[in-house]
Amino acid sequence: MSLELDVRVPERDVEAALTVADGETLAVLGPNGAGKSTLLAVMAGLVRPRHGRVVLDGRELTVAGVGRSVHVPPHDRRTALLGQEPLLFPHLSALDNVAFGARSAGAARRESRERAQGWLDRLGVGELSGRRPGQLSGGQSQRVAVARALAADPRVLLLDEPMAALDVDVAPAMRQLLRGVLADRTVVLVTHDVLDALLLADRVVVLEAGRVVEEGPATEVLSRPRSPFAARLAGLNLVEGTWTGEEVRSDWGSAVRGLASGPVPQPGDRVVATFRPHAVAVYRAPVTGSPRNSFAVTVTGLEPLGDLVRVRAVAGGQGGQGLAADVTVQSVAALELAAGQQVTFSVKATEVAVYPL
């Protein structure tokens, strides 16, 4: 067991517990303002929780609200933090930026620089070592920043959306590179990008409103999401409700039929039904026919999605259940779809997966 955290930060409405095993990469997913960065700040020692503990390799880094108090200062926790912006020290060369951690730990200048050069080489920016941060592109700067964080030899690497500020054309290369260097490190990665979670993380935690709402292996969470946020990330429609034995009685009134899988739910159990927007057909008139689920919805918007159009709609009236359907451009034209229109979304029961919450 490497990192354990169980804290309450009432000022930011965060109350969460999580663990990261030695050598594991944990992705913390969640919408903006869910408290992801607060958790990192607590781990890094920048925010002191009102209550709880942070333990790294059996060493208490933070203890609060249990009659005693421990607060190891940020520089003594061995938790290197890397955010969206590289924040390279502007007055130091790339090489000296990377050598900074070792120098601060008391290593000799020459040795620190040699090791720093090694890290820059590994991150593919070895030839830029003499440059000042002002002379580096965004992607290059972030690579140097990753090298700097790794060179500090942290026990846990804390990454706060490290690819969010990068151009779309450099992010994939950066992700590939991170995949290599993070492989056997203990990492906590805050992101809201599904690819980061799939490619970099062993396990994910979904945070909503400061609470952990879902947790598990990345592929499991994204293929069988239980929270609206994870479903949105995975690009799935998610309907929560109660299992009657035959169908899901949704909280907004409709019934959804589907195939129950995994542990078979008992009548009365809380379950979710998920289905892909691609499996949803759109009609102007109500549809009947037993194997199909159909929902009367109001279109709220249309967005281009490759060669398809994503039709966003809401069922069950104002503030009701959001649903999405992916249809061809031709269908949009034929159906004369526009925001505000009443239409029917239809999906085959065989396309709907039902599993317990």
Partner: protein
């Protein structure tokens, strides 16, 4: 944005008001004896004393002002706003009042002066007093300049440095100071200029003793009565130094 035309009129009047007196000084200089006037024994003594004391007070300002600015910019405590205002008080205080205040603190009968006197230390009316008076009036310039630079630089780099394992002293030395160096330089130049021009606090607290406490502004004031030509020549020297200082400050700011 396009300015209304009438704005240029008061702006030009204001600029003329600042520049004309400088022209008047230059016009009034007796160039034939200029060299002799500024190299007379009393002039040289005043000039050297001014440079020495201003340099010393600038060093003192940096040594005390940087930590003061750091505390003001990087910490939070009750009454911080009041403390900041009081620290910056010498900016708006008439220097002669500052001199009196120093006299009643460090003078022979002052708050600390009596104890110092008992130890055989007398600061009033000495070169040390000149440096103290100059430091008193110049310190706020440095504090303001560095506090602004610290706030602009923000704490983000310091947080990163700490997360890389750097102790607070290392962060301060290797990150904080280099980041505010341009602000430090321009603050030091401003403080030096303010110290160089110091008159009221100096004459009140340190007196006017040639070679000991009579700095250039005091010398000019004194010469004005007996030898106006010498006063004008020395005044021009101070103008030139001030122009150089402004040039330096601009350069250190644009170096950022």
């Amino acid at each position: 944005m396009r300015l209304p035309r009438w704005v240029f009129v008061p702006a030009a009047v204001g600029a003329a008001f600042v520049l004309l007196p400088l022209v008047a000084i230059v016009a009034r200089v007796d160039w034939a004896s200029f060299g002799d006037l500024i190299t007379s024994e009393s002039s040289r003594a005043a000039f050297v004393l001014s440079l020495q004391t201003s340099a010393a007070s600038t060093v003192l300002c940096v040594l005390a002002g940087v930590p003061m600015a750091a505390v003001l910019a990087r910490t939070e405590f009750r009454g911080q706003g009041v403390v900041r205002s009081l620290v910056l008080l010498p900016l708006v205080l008439p220097p002669v009042v500052g001199g009196l205040a120093l006299l009643y603190t460090f003078g022979r009968r002052g708050l600390l002066g009596e104890s110092l006197d008992a130890l055989g230390v007398q600061v009033a009316f000495s070169t040390v007093a000149v440096v103290m008076a100059q430091t008193f009036v110049a310190l706020p310039f440095l504090v303001i300049s560095i506090e602004g630079a610290l706030r602009t630089a923000g704490e983000r780099y310091e947080v990163v440095a700490a997360s890389l394992g750097a102790r607070p002293t290392t962060v301060f030395r290797r990150i904080t100071l280099p980041l505010v160096l341009p602000g430090l330089l321009s603050g030091a130049v401003l403080a030096f200029a303010r110290a160089l021009g110091e008159f009221g606090a100096t004459i009140t607290f340190a007196g006017s003793l040639q070679g000991v406490t009579r700095t250039l502004p005091l010398e000019i004031y004194l010469q004005r009565e007996t030898d106006p030509d010498a006063a004008v020549a020395l005044a021009l020297v101070l103008v030139v130094v001030a122009v150089l200082v402004i040039g330096l400050a601009r350069q250190s700011r644009s170096a950022l």
